[in-house]
Symmetry: C2
Subunit: 339 residues, 2 copies
């Protein structure tokens, strides 16, 4: 007999994404049998609400126990994913992992349900990865364009909010801003430089070719999700003093012509995407408006006349929702629907 | 006999660029005979210091008088440039104009002295335009790359500070930030939306094809300054909650190959450009560091492997200095040197 209610674990329950997961499980009336919240020792014993009940936070330790858990949403650190991902999977748990640890593994599907739910069938290790919070909105916009006109090349520049780093980074932006406005000393601990009233062309860590890890992720993950291992993508990723929501300026070259109006029609028909594009009336996506929303917003859709088949557009999405917690919950829902 | 000291007018003396002009005239020990400061009636009668003297602010009226002025730095509104530019030129003044009014006129040179000082010879109308504050740093970086490897196409995304709009916009960002931190109502007057903790993909006004005027300016002005009327350039311009300095993510395709190291060498040799590029040590240009500096800073120089001859790089420059007041003063200096 098919299960109708599920036991869900949230690993990293007190983090920015973990807390968002609880809100989303509640909003979407996810069929919860029970909720297991895991965090560090510091938070153990406290409790958090979801679906009208209070759930006690447990300390995450190798002993678990993890038996009986159906789905685990893992959003903590790469080290925790590396250790607990396989451990949970061995205990029979379907792991939906938000880290970069497993994303590029051939036997781990990297899934945005609206784009490649079919890839869930290949989750032989019982680990499913969700993409980086800048990749998810990007592939949701690229997918219908690629299907219609074949994407030849993408140049993307990101404007990433501090919540992508976590709750401590949000506090740091606020504290730095307060300090500046009262002429006090600014402390930078989460980021290497002041983020308040500044831009840092640096997300993640730097590798050999001068790219930062976020830039490499966008390229590799986009190719994997769209199943185009040679797709030509280049990225520049920048942290901006915004609390929530990532924005992306995207330049797209297609093989076949596609007018801005055709692109608007394709994107309007894409589940999870909202076209918000009337700049003369000063309507375009902004981080402020997209915060707390489930959809990926796209606007500033216009011809790029510097090439034959070129489009420019502007994407904004809530990095904690579709960029992380929502996408993970949607994957669990898709697995349930497939069962 | 050649003059050795000059009478300079600053039109818009109390604005963000006007005040910067006074600082720059002082720092560079510009050979001032006298300074004439013009502003609206509101500021007339007040005075501002420069080179150890106080200069009274006059109300700008059609009657001037403008005779005897050698150079006028005009940085107010398009309407003021349109009215007073020709009037000053007719009175024998060399007008160095910061507005968009004359930039694309065939008989008005559009000058960044390090890039195209030779164009000053064609100032038959005695009006010289300075480029938009995002174009100036861009062409300073493109010029040596174009000379060495021929630029085929440029995709640029800007991160523009509020000081590009003026002093009132700087106040608005500060006031909105204060209001948000104290849970008070946020007022947006200068911009159509809240700029604090937000990004607005909107600089200037929107035209027919969905481009905003700042995007069109970057394309047209870059072509004019580099004397490449067909150069393929596309831009997305975004206002970010930064007080001062504009940043630009630039993707460049060249005809001939150019390694990042070759680009670094070329850019290091370019007057007015500083290569600041050691990301592993967390050194890259940032608005915070570039504020008050004369140079254009470039970093994050790396290969774009999505095309055969591709480079990505990141530019930061002080929009009030090289982007406006400094470039204007340098033009006056270049004219004096040529005389």
């Amino acid at each position: 007999m098919k299960k109708t209610r599920y036991t869900v674990a949230v690993i990293g329950a007190t983090g920015a994404v973990g807390r968002e997961s609880l809100e989303i499980l509640q909003e979407r009336k996810f069929p919860l049998e029970a909720l297991r919240l895991f965090a560090s020792k510091r938070s153990a014993g406290e409790s958090l609400p979801c679906q009208g009940r209070e759930w006690r936070i447990e300390e995450l330790t190798p002993g678990g126990p993890f038996e009986g858990i159906d789905f685990a949403f893992v959003s903590a650190t790469d080290a925790i994913s590396r250790e607990y991902g396989p451990r949970l999977a061995e205990a029979g748990v379907t792991v939906i992992d938000d880290s970069a640890v497993f994303r590029m593994d051939a036997d781990v599907p990297l899934v945005v349900p609206e784009v490649n739910a079919h890839a869930l069938a290949s989750a032989t290790r019982r680990i499913i990865a969700i993409p980086n919070c800048t990749t998810t909105p990007l592939v949701m916009v690229l997918k219908p364009i690629h299907d219609a006109a074949r994407v030849k090349r993408v140049v993307v520049t990101t404007f990433q909010s501090v919540s992508g780093t976590g709750a401590a980074a949000m506090d740091e932006l606020i504290e730095q801003t307060k300090a500046l406005l009262s002429f006090k000393e600014v402390k930078a601990e989460v980021y290497p430089h002041q983020i308040a009233f500044n831009c840092l062309p640096h997300v993640g860590s730097f590798g050999e070719g001068g790219e930062c890890s976020e830039e490499t992720k966008i390229v590799n993950e986009t190719r994997k999700i769209l199943e185009e291992p040679q797709m030509r993508v280049t990225a520049t990723t920048v942290r901006v003093p915004v609390l929530r929501c990532h924005s992306e300026a995207v330049n797209i070259e297609t093989e076949r012509p596609l007018t801005p109006n055709e692109a608007r029609a394709l994107l309007s028909a894409m589940p999870g995407v909202i076209v918000f594009d009337d700049p003369v009336r000063k309507l375009y996506p902004m981080p402020l408006d997209a915060a707390g929303k489930d959809e990926v917003f796209v606007g500033r859709i216009r011809e790029d006349r510097s090439i034959t088949n070129g489009l420019n557009l502007w994407i904004v999405s809530d990095n904690l929702r579709k960029g992380a917690a929502l996408n993970a919950v949607q994957i669990a829902e898709a697995i349930i629907a497939r069962a």
